[in-house]
């Protein structure tokens, strides 16, 4: 029987197969897979592969220097995520949101990979890469041509006190007229003012476990004052009801929101409120007898000085009702209270006058003393420098319009630009040593980017306000770009170009080992070991090398608290110079105009105030502002009940 295939059979077979295949998952699966494939290759990069390892370092983006535990992948091991180090007695395992993405920052789009000339263009800033030699030559020429300026060359060190800072000073010493400038610490400025009042009797820190009440003049206590690690300590006490937080702040900051009492004052009236409280303490007889004994000018001149700051007057200046002020003063006098100032509403540190007023309030409240937690602390041991050092001045201490060439070492612009700009001559040249085209670089003519955080061996000093000294190391986790230049190395080339060659700067490792040796020599303190979360006595650390090894592996050295009370001198409440007294009175009466307003929105403190400043923000942090309602809007941050009423 011959079977004949007709055309119809073929057609049937073809149609049937087509339908059959269409009903099978095959074409659809291919379709789906190709859809995934096309989308993947375009948008999703391949993740690193390889062994997962844990390495320790510290975030050196800001002076808080939080300890980091990095999860690294591959060879060479590169970090993919960060966490705090649990059990660390300094940082308490805490990190600010930026800290979780600090490893992103080295590859941030604003990262400068090498020396550059900075062009201010319409609609933005651009970095045009330049040869290192050319930049050095240009800066040297600028230094030469500013010979007439009071300070031809200054290095503004935004993280002062490091061994690298010392090394910079050593190199600078070779250049005639060159100085190092340090800004006031935002978070520790009240403590510094108290120290100044007491003729520098001791350095002070705060033991947050002690005071029953903290009166904060804008200090970001719930956002990380000094270091984010202080927040859990504060919260625990606040929740337990053993600490009352009174926030005097113009804006509704996260700390104001979380305070037990928020008193929204008019911006710039901190001094009036502090002196108003001082007035009440004095006039209502709330000053303890032992304080009255030590304060030489309490009865005579001080009484008349604070007389104008009676509650009614302070209410008119600051907007705080007189009755509230009265009850606050009485409450403060009855319990161990500490007053801390930090940060004006614009984001800049409080002025000298405000800090002095807050210091006066502290002294009247019996501080420093064991009950309120204002404790004396020892300095972090440092090796004796060999050779001459360039002079170090505070930013406030140099005259306006005096700096010819300013080098800025640091990424986080913790000082408002307006304060720095005032010190410059009209023809000044600014060189940014920040790794990014952000913050200081936006005001500079040249950029000589230093290694970014996590790219070079660095050290972490005692955080502002800490009750004891501490020290840790930040070993590098990321490769450093070829053309990045450490500030000391740039200074050395600059010195050579200026015809005053200095000795080559020492490498970080031997430098830091010298600090380790100094600590071992001092013989105090304990060593924190991560992993076991234990504290070793320094004697068991294995000498300077052993200490260095332990700190390289994520450890930290912590000083012992000062046990014996520090003998306190008699003191004057009012400053000795009549001009200083006059300016204190004038600031208190007139208030201080907000300087931050001109400094631009970048200085709006948000999140962890003062910790990140204007270093670039990792893109992933957009979640906090744009992709959630977590951050209050700029408008809300600027407005308070007082300003709303006035508007």
């Amino acid at each position: 029987m011959g079977q004949r295939f007709t055309r119809r059979d073929v057609l049937f077979a073809a149609t049937g197969s087509a339908a059959g295949i269409a009903l099978s998952p095959l074409p659809w699966k291919l379709l789906g897979d190709s859809a995934i494939w096309t989308q993947r290759s375009r948008f999703a990069p391949e993740a690193l592969r390889g062994d997962v390892t844990t390495r320790f370092s510290a975030c050196t983006l800001c002076p808080a220097g939080c300890a980091l535990r990095a999860r690294c992948v591959g060879t060479p091991a590169l970090p993919v995520s960060m966490t705090g180090v649990k059990g660390n007695p300094v940082t308490h395992g805490a990190l600010c949101p930026t800290g979780f993405a600090v490893h992103h920052l080295a590859r941030h789009p604003l990262r400068l990979k090498g020396p550059a000339r900075i062009d201010l263009r319409k609609g933005g800033v651009e970095a045009v890469s330049a040869k290192a030699d050319d930049v050095v030559a240009a800066v040297a020429a600028a230094v030469r041509s500013s010979k007439g300026a009071a300070v031809p060359l200054a290095l503004l060190d935004l993280r002062p006190g490091r061994m690298a800072s010392l090394e910079c000073r050593r190199v600078l010493a070779g250049i005639p007229g060159a100085i190092q400038v340090v800004p006031a610490s935002r978070d520790a400025s009240t403590l510094d003012a108290i120290r100044a009042q007491l003729d520098g009797a001791a350095a002070f820190g705060v033991d947050l476990e002690k005071p029953s009440t903290i009166v904060s003049f804008g200090a970001p206590l719930r956002e990380g004052w000094g270091t984010p690690g202080t927040v859990p300590v504060l919260l625990t006490r606040q929740n337990a009801g053993t600490l009352r937080l009174v926030q005097l702040e113009a804006r509704r900051s996260p700390t104001a929101e979380g305070a037990d009492l928020w008193l929204p004052i008019r911006p710039g009236t901190e001094a009036a409120v502090a002196l108003g409280l001082a007035h009440l303490l004095v006039t209502e007889g709330l000053v303890a007898p032992e304080v009255a004994k030590r304060a030489r000018d309490l009865d005579a001149s001080f009484r008349s000085f604070v007389a104008p700051f009676e509650p009614g007057a302070v209410e008119r200046i600051s907007g705080i009702p007189a009755a509230t002020l009265r009850s606050l003063a009485r409450a403060l006098a009855n319990e161990p209270t500490l007053a801390i100032g930090s940060g004006a509403p614009g984001g800049e540190p409080l002025g000298i006058e405000e800090e002095r007023a807050i210091a006066i309030l502290n002294l009247l409240l019996g501080n420093p003393g064991p009950r309120s937690g204002l404790v004396a602390r020892r300095e972090l041991p440092a090796p004796v420098p060999d050779g001459a050092l360039a002079p170090q001045l505070s930013l406030a201490g140099i005259a306006d319009g005096s700096v010819g060439v300013l080098l800025i070492d640091g990424a986080a612009e913790t000082v408002p630009w307006a304060l720095v700009a005032a010190k410059l001559t009209p023809a000044s040249v600014v060189v940014s040593l920040s790794p990014w085209l952000a913050g200081p670089a936006l005001h500079a003519a040249w950029a000589v980017p230093a290694p970014a955080p996590l790219e070079s061996l660095d050290e972490v000093l005692t955080p502002a306000g800490a009750p004891v000294a501490s020290w840790a190391l930040a070993p590098p986790l990321l490769p450093v770009p070829e053309k990045a230049m450490a500030p000391a190395a740039f200074l050395e080339s600059l010195a050579a170009a200026l015809g005053s060659p200095s000795a080559a700067p020492e490498l970080p490792e031997p430098l830091l080992k010298r600090r380790a040796a100094a600590i071992v020599a001092a013989g105090r303190g304990k060593v924190f070991v991560p992993g076991s979360s234990s504290l070793l006595p320094l004697a068991d650390a294995g000498g300077a090398d052993g200490l260095y090894q332990k700190l390289s592996a994520g450890g930290a050295w912590i000083d012992e608290p000062v046990s014996a009370p520090v003998p306190l001198p008699l003191f004057d409440l009012l400053p000795p110079a009549p001009q200083a007294t006059a300016s204190l009175a004038s600031v208190a009466v007139l208030g201080r105009p907000a300087r931050g307003a001109q400094a631009g929105p970048n200085l709006e403190p948000e999140g962890y105030v003062g910790s990140t400043g204007t270093a670039p923000e990792p893109a992933i942090l957009g979640k906090l502002g744009r992709e959630s309602l977590l951050r209050t809007s700029t408008a809300a941050r600027r407005s308070t009940p007082v300003t709303i009423r006035e508007a």
């Binding site: 948008f43 993740a47 949101p97 992103h104 927040v231 859990p232 996260p254 979640k623 992709e627 959630s628």
Partner: protein, 261 residues
């Protein structure tokens, strides 16, 4: 994705967390740590709080009093990992949502997701995010993606899974050591690890010895929208009555909520 083999004879767990609202300062570290851990790309420049991708969102709430007396609290809301009549589970037309029986974790399988968003409409906690844009990783994230979590494409839904890959690692570690079960404390999601104030407690709610199980039964605990009967495994705690009442919805809405749109 959610087929981690239990080490033999390992018993089933019911992982959950207790979040102490009194310890949350609203800093957002958990959100950032979560996004870094789970390769969540930063949103498109046009993304906002309603179109961005957040596996964990921190809400802000207040007691409705006028400024400056207003009291504020923050509520971190990850996927609540509903244990009973899980709202998103039953609605998915193609089984892209599943529950891992050994851990109680509700998982999302993005490669199977069609992007119909029915699960998002069904979820009362709004913890699910849709990829409205192609995920674009900036240069800074390209070389630091977490190798344990696959990236997603446009047009699919994703959500918190209590860092399930960390559970898988903990189990692999236990199995390699010859153990039968992951050790308590060995498995901790990224947000829990990240919280600077230790507001999160995490662990097996069925293990009476665990801190989390004890805390879950402690004073001042509650769950969000408890009356819906979804048995969430995220438990909140606050000693402040106004926080509890507001978060539980016991207080009438003041009707003055901001109208957003």
């Amino acid at each position: 994705m959610h087929t981690a083999k239990k080490p033999t004879d390992g018993k089933n767990h019911r992982y959950g967390m207790v979040i102490d609202l009194d310890r949350c300062t609203g800093c957002g570290a958990c959100m950032v740590a979560c996004a870094v851990e789970n390769n969540v790309p930063p949103g498109d420049p046009a993304a906002n709080e309603r179109t961005g991708i957040s596996w964990l969102r921190v809400y802000r709430m207040n007691d409705g009093k006028p400024l400056p007396e207003t009291r504020t609290a923050f509520v971190p809301v990850p996927c609540q990992q509903c244990g009973v009549s899980t709202p998103c589970l039953s609605v998915c037309p193609q089984n892209a949502v599943d529950i891992d029986q050994s851990s109680g974790i509700v998982g999302q399988i993005p490669v199977r997701c069609l992007g119909c968003r029915y699960c998002m409409a069904a979820c009362p906690y709004h913890t699910r995010s849709f990829n409205w844009w192609d995920p674009v990783y900036p240069a800074e994230m390209r070389e630091s993606l977490n190798p344990d979590v696959s990236t997603r494409t446009r047009g699919v839904v994703e959500k918190c899974n209590f860092c399930f890959h960390r559970l898988q690692q903990a189990r692999a570690k236990a199995a390699a050591a010859g153990g039968k079960d992951e050790a308590p404390g060995e498995y901790v999601p990224a947000c829990v690890e990240a919280c600077p104030t230790s507001a999160f407690l995490f662990g097996d709610l069925d293990d009476p010895a665990s801190d989390v199980a004890k805390a879950a039964k402690g004073e001042g605990t509650f769950r969000l929208l408890e009356k819906l009967g979804t048995d969430p495994k995220v438990i909140y705690r606050s000693a402040k009555p106004w926080v509890r009442q507001t978060a539980e919805g016991a207080l009438p809405r003041n009707g003055k909520e901001e109208h957003r749109g």
